[in-house]
C-alpha cells in the first residue's frame, strides 16, 4: 500500500480544505525553517547546537492541530517543529537561533531552549527525558484548576530509556492526568539504533506496564498521526487519563548539524525521502481536489518569503545589550 493510499484510508471527515491548508502550511514552514537553519549553521550564522526536525513534520503538526493556547507542550532538543506547530512566532525563533535581542527568549536560550508561555510552549529541553515530569506537572495544574487543558510531552526513542520516562508515565497513570506522551521514534538515539538501545520492539508496548493505552502510528502519515492524536487528546480532555503514542518516523538530517551520519546508509535515507510526509500530503490534496497545485505553490512561496524575511530581519537585529547578561535570573532577589 502506498503512502497516499494509507493516508486516503485514514483521511478523516473533518479534514476539509480549510483545515488541511494551514496544516500543510505549517509542515512547509517547519521544513523550510530547518533547511535554512542547517544552511545558515554551515555558513556560521548560528552558534551552538542545532538539531533539525525535517522529516518529522507530520507528527508535530498532526498533534498540535488539536491543541489551543490553553494546552501545554514540552519539547526536546529537536524542538523547532513543535514550536512552529504550536504557533510560536517564526521571526522570533530565527532571531533566537542567531542569539539576537529580538529572539523569543531575547537571545538567552537558543535553539534548545525556545519557549513561549503565551502559546503554552513550556520550553524545548536540552536534556533528553527532561520533559516527562514537567508535562505531568502542567497537566496536574490543568486538572486541578479545571481549565480543560491538556499537556503533550514530545520525546524521542532515546528518552524512553531514561528514568524520567518511567516516573512520568507512572505519575500520569496513577493520577489520571490529562497528558499525552508522544514518542517520535526516528530510529536512532543520537547514533545508536533503536534495536540496540531499546528492549521493546515498539516503545508503545511499554504503556502496558502502566496500564494505559499504547498506540503505534506511521509518523510519516499526517492523517494517521492526526487521527490517533485526536483520540488520545480527546481521551485526556474527558478525564480518562494519559496515552502513550509512538510515531515511527525518520530524520532527514543527522542528530545535529555537523554530524557525519556514519551510522546509517544513504539507501535508508533515500527510502524515507521517497516517503516525504509533506509531498505525500500535497499529492493527496491535489489528487482529491482539496487544493489546486497552484494554491499550494502559493503557500510554498509565502513560506519561503516569510523565512527569507525572518533571516534578513534577524541578521539586521542587535545582539542583546551586555547588561542583559545579569537579568532574568530571579523575579526578585
Amino acid at each position: 500500500m502506498s503512502a497516499t493510499d494509507t493516508m486516503a484510508s485514514a483521511a478523516l471527515a473533518d479534514l476539509d480544505g480549510d483545515k488541511l491548508r494551514p496544516m500543510y502550511e505549517r509542515m512547509v514552514q517547519i521544513r523550510v525553517f530547518e533547511e535554512l537553519a542547517g544552511k545558515n549553521f554551515a555558513a556560521g550564522l548560528v552558534p551552538g547546537f542545532v538539531h533539525l526536525y525535517a522529516g518529522e513534520e507530520a507528527i508535530a503538526v498532526g498533534v498540535c492541530s488539536h491543541l489551543t493556547d490553553k494546552d501545554f507542550i514540552t519539547s526536546t532538543h529537536r524542538g523547532h517543529g513543535h514550536c512552529i506547530a504550536k504557533g510560536v512566532d517564526i521571526p522570533g525563533m530565527v532571531a533566537e537561533l542567531m542569539g539576537k535581542s529580538t529572539g523569543v527568549c531575547k537571545g538567552k536560550g537558543g535553539s534548545m531552549h525556545i519557549a513561549d508561555v503565551d502559546k503554552g510552549m513550556l520550553g524545548a529541553n536540552g536534556i533528553v527525558g527532561g520533559g516527562f515530569p514537567l508535562a505531568c506537572g502542567a497537566a496536574l495544574t490543568a486538572k486541578t484548576l479545571k481549565t480543560g487543558g491538556v499537556a503533550v510531552c514530545f520525546f524521542g526513542d532515546g528518552a524512553s530509556n531514561q528514568g524520567t520516562f518511567h516516573e512520568g508515565l507512572n505519575l500520569a497513570a496513577i493520577w489520571k492526568l490529562p497528558v499525552v506522551f508522544v514518542c517520535e521514534n526516528n530510529g536512532y538515539a543520537e547514533a545508536t539504533p533503536v534495536h540496540y538501545h531499546c528492549s521493546a520492539t515498539d516503545i508503545a508496548n511499554r504503556a502496558g506496564g502502566y496500564e494505559i493505552p499504547g498506540i503505534v502510528v506511521d509518523g510519516l502519515d499526517l492523517f494517521a498521526v492526526y487521527e490517533a492524536a485526536g483520540e488520545a487528546i480527546a481521551r485526556a480532555r474527558r478525564g480518562e487519563g494519559p496515552t502513550l503514542l509512538e510515531a515511527k518516523t525518520y530524520r532527514f538530517y543527522g542528530h545535529f548539524e555537523g554530524d557525519q551520519v556514519t551510522y546509517r546508509t544513504s539507501e535508508e535515507l533515500a527510502r524515507y525521502r521517497d516517503r516525504d510526509p509533506i509531498q505525500a500530503v500535497r499529492t493527496f490534496m491535489v489528487a482529491r481536489g482539496v487544493a489546486a497545485a497552484e494554491e499550494l505553490d502559493a503557500i510554498d512561496a509565502g513560506v519561503a518569503h516569510l523565512l527569507d524575511e525572518s533571516w534578513e530581519a534577524a541578521k539586521a537585529a542587535a545582539f542583546p545589550a551586555t547588561e542583559e547578561t545579569l537579568t532574568d535570573v530571579y523575579v526578585r532577589y
Binding site: 514540552t74 527568549c105 508561555v117 520550553g123 505531568c136 506537572g137 530571579y330
Partner: protein
Amino acid sequence: MPVMTYREALRSAMAEEMTRDESVVILGEDIGIYGGTHLVTDKLIDQFGPRRVIDTPIAEGGFTGAAIGMAMAGMRPIVEMMTWNFSFQAVDQIVQNAAKVRYFSGGQVTVPLVIRGPNGGGVQLSAQHTHSLENFYGHFPGLKVVSPVTPHDVKGMMIEAIRDPNPIIFLEAGALYGTKGEVPEGEFTVPFGKARVAREGTDVTLIAYGRQVNMLLKVADTLAADGVAAEVIDLRSIRPFDEQTIVESVRKTHRAVVVQEQWRWFSVGSEVAALIQEQAFDDLDAPVERVSGAEVPAPYARNLEVAAFPSEQQIVDAARRAMYRG
C-alpha cells in the same frame, strides 16, 4: 507569646498560606494519609483534602519535576523532600529546569516553588542519609537557599518562601523538629538575605547556620566564663547572602570563626572566609578559622559520628586560636 515546636511552626506556616492562597499545594512521599515521616504535614490532609495534600510515589525526580511543571503552569507547589539526601534523584530537574528556565526563556517562565525537608545529620543515619547541602544548592544561580534554625524563623521564612516567586531550597534543621520556641501570633515573614545576630559580643564573631547555631550559643557561654564576649551570627539564608552583617561584626571584633557540619572544601565556610578577607582585610587581627565536618562519608557508630562533626570543644579551641589564647 505562644510557644511551639519547630515542626508545629512549619506546619502552621503552610496551613495558613494554603488557607490564604488556593494555588498552594503540597506534594511528597507519605505526607497525606500517613502524616509525613517527620509528621510535619500531620493532619493537613484532613483540612485541605487529597487534591491539595498530594501523596506521591517514591519518585523524587518525577514528582519534583512535576511540581516544577505545575509552577511553570501557574500554581505554587511545596515539595516535601523526605530528606534532602533523596534530592540527588531530583537534581537534574531542580538544577536544569527550576533554576534555569526563567533565564533561558528570557524572563518568560517563573517557577514559584518551595522544596523543603530535613537537612544535615547528627542522628546516626550514616553515609547515604547524612548530608548538608547548603553549598551544593547555593552554588546555582536561579535558586534561593535558606536554612532557618528557630521556630520563629522557620515559620516566618516558610511564609516568605511560599510567597516568593522564585524556586526556594528550604533546608530544615532535621534534628531540631521537636525544639520549642516563641512564635508570634498571626501572620509575619522573615525576609531572605538578612542574618540574625543571635548574641551580641565584642571579642570574636562566631558564624554558623542550622543546628550549629545552637552549638555556638553554648560555646559563647563557655567563652564568657573565660572573659571572652563572643558575637554569634545565624546566617539564616545562604543565597541571597547577608554580607553586611558579617562584615560589620568582624569590623567590631576583628576575629571570626565559621562553623559548619558540611565538608570544608568548597563550602559555605570557605565563602564566608573569602568574603571577610575581601571586605574586612584590614580589620582582621587573626586568620579566619573554619571548623567543618571531617572529610569522610558520615559514619554510623555514635562515637565516630560525634568525631566527624564539629564539637563545642573544637569551636572553643578555634576561638582561642583566633584570640591567640590557644
